[in-house]
């Protein structure tokens, strides 16, 4: 794309929820100040070099978008799609209210849908909504300040035991864990309810380190209790202390449950396992 000096923008709302519109407004605010880059929002498409589209292109807005695109001067005529909806139809991609003529109803490889059904798009800025920095990055690409960083990937996931030959082939790795995987999975799922998906892996890893230490001693139950108490005293975040206490109880509950279950199974079917 050729380097442009200042771009005059006309903003079209093609049925957006106004989330992306507010972010476009933020870009023009003093903190992000897109006007220092030469961006100016104009009230008429006849003055505009660039068309900002937000929204998934509803049937009602189709004519308006087409008219404003045709009213633009023919020379640069750059179209920027802002938001996930404008890039591909977003969460509404198979709605009855959208104008979508893609043959697979938007389930193809490129997830076609949205304004690209009627106008060619030069810059995709996905996000729901994209943060002002993301929009600034898109504008900076048009101006030639920043360069493209994304790249499509095609990985071939090799089955276990096969060797890597090509560059995009990837071998299988199950991370080694000191406790059996079924404990780890159940604890992880319980921890999601207490502390959320974001911090749970770090907390669980720390806890399993403590379990490993505790099982070295003669009385693991008391030792683990001491270790967890020590950990939660050190940590300033009270959420983590609560989560640790919770996960300790949960671990012993699971431990007993699995052991009882195995015993019961052996009693019910007195069969030697593993022929």
């Amino acid at each position: 794309m050729t380097r442009m000096k200042s771009i005059w923008v006309y903003h079209v709302d093609a049925g957006s929820c106004n989330g992306c519109d507010i972010e476009v407004l933020d870009v023009l605010s003093p903190y992000y100040d897109a006007e220092r880059l030469g961006v100016k929002v104009v009230p008429n498409p006849r003055h505009a070099d660039v068309l900002f589209i937000t929204g998934p292109l509803t049937r009602q807005t189709r004519i308006a978008l087409k008219k404003s695109y045709e009213a633009m001067p023919p020379k640069p005529r750059i179209v920027v799609a802002i938001g996930t909806c404008a890039c591909s139809g977003g969460i509404w991609y198979n709605s009855y209210a959208l104008y979508n003529t893609s043959p697979q109803r938007g389930r193809d490889r490129l997830r076609s849908g949205g304004p690209e059904m009627i106008v060619p798009i030069d810059m995709y800025i996905p996000g729901c909504p994209p943060s002002p920095e993301e929009i600034l990055y898109g504008i900076a690409q048009l101006l030639g300040i920043k360069e493209k960083k994304m790249k499509g990937e095609y990985w071939i996931a090799l089955p276990p035991g096969e060797e890597k030959k090509a560059e995009n082939e990837v071998m299988f790795k199950i991370p080694e864990r000191p406790v059996p995987l079924r404990y780890w999975l159940s604890l992880r799922e319980e921890l999601r309810r207490v502390i959320g998906y974001y911090d749970r892996d770090a907390v669980l890893n720390d806890f399993i380190g403590l379990v490993e230490k505790a099982f070295e001693s003669d009385n693991p139950r008391e030792r683990l209790h001491d270790l967890v108490t020590g950990y939660s005293l050190k940590e300033k975040d009270s959420r983590i202390g609560i989560a640790m206490r919770f996960i300790e109880n949960e671990f012993w509950r699971l431990y007993e449950e699995y052991h009882e279950w195995e015993e019961a199974l052996r009693k019910k079917y007195p069969i030697t396992a593993g022929v």
Binding site: Y31, G89, Y124, C128, E133, M171, K173, I240, I271
Partner: protein, 203 residues
């Protein structure tokens, strides 16, 4: 021990675009497009599929609200493809929440604007397991079988003789069950559970 540092430490390490250097020059406006910045650690950027850990179970494709993740079967070639497209992704992080192996990784990437939609596509191609008796590909991948071996207690795995049956199609499993039922004259326990006949001697 911990792979990811705790949240409080991550927050400390995050440097807000070199505030000191630019504080005199630009007290209000961010110098962003002219410098490189990082987003805060809790920022929801686009997720990324880690192909080392992905087993191709399709849990993420099930929960994805806008179908940014799609699982496609190609039984003729014996592959199944997990396609992720950032142009459809609304960053709800449901896929990260449900992934059993942690293959969906949250990132803080925000510089994803592009002029070509191909750049936003990420594909992981998995190999399907193969049933030699039926000469047919199964619905699930070899990695999934390996993962099941890791979850189930080994004793249960042997007790139900799963090693012999795990790579069979549904029809073949049913056929074998019927054959076994005929042999044992309807004894259900001996059909599904592997009896140790060497020690007992009689059946």
């Amino acid at each position: 021990m911990a792979e990811a540092p705790p949240y409080s430490e991550k927050l400390k390490s995050w440097d807000r675009f070199e505030a000191e250097r630019f504080s005199r020059k630009a007290p209000i406006t961010t110098p962003y497009p002219f410098i490189d910045i990082e987003k805060p650690p809790e920022y929801r950027g686009i997720p990324h599929i880690n192909p080392e850990k992905c087993i191709g179970c399709g849990a993420c494709a099930n929960v994805c609200p806008p179908d940014a993740l799609i699982m496609e079967w190609d039984k003729e070639h014996g592959v199944k493809r997990l396609t992720y497209n950032a142009a459809r992704c609304i960053r709800c992080a449901r896929c990260i929440e449900v992934c059993p192996t942690g293959a969906m990784e949250p990132t803080t990437r925000f510089e994803i604007a592009t002029n070509n939609k191909e750049d936003l596509v990420e594909v992981v191609e998995h190999k399907l397991a193969y049933c030699e008796d039926c000469d047919e590909y199964l619905d699930f991948t070899e990695r999934q079988i390996e993962y099941v071996r890791n979850i189930l207690p080994r004793e249960i795995f042997h007790l139900y003789a799963l090693e012999d049956r795990i790579k069979l199609t549904q029809e073949e499993k049913m056929r074998r069950t019927v054959v076994k039922l005929r042999e044992t004259e309807g004894n259900i326990y001996s059909t599904f559970i592997l009896l140790n006949t060497r020690e007992g001697g009689e059946e």
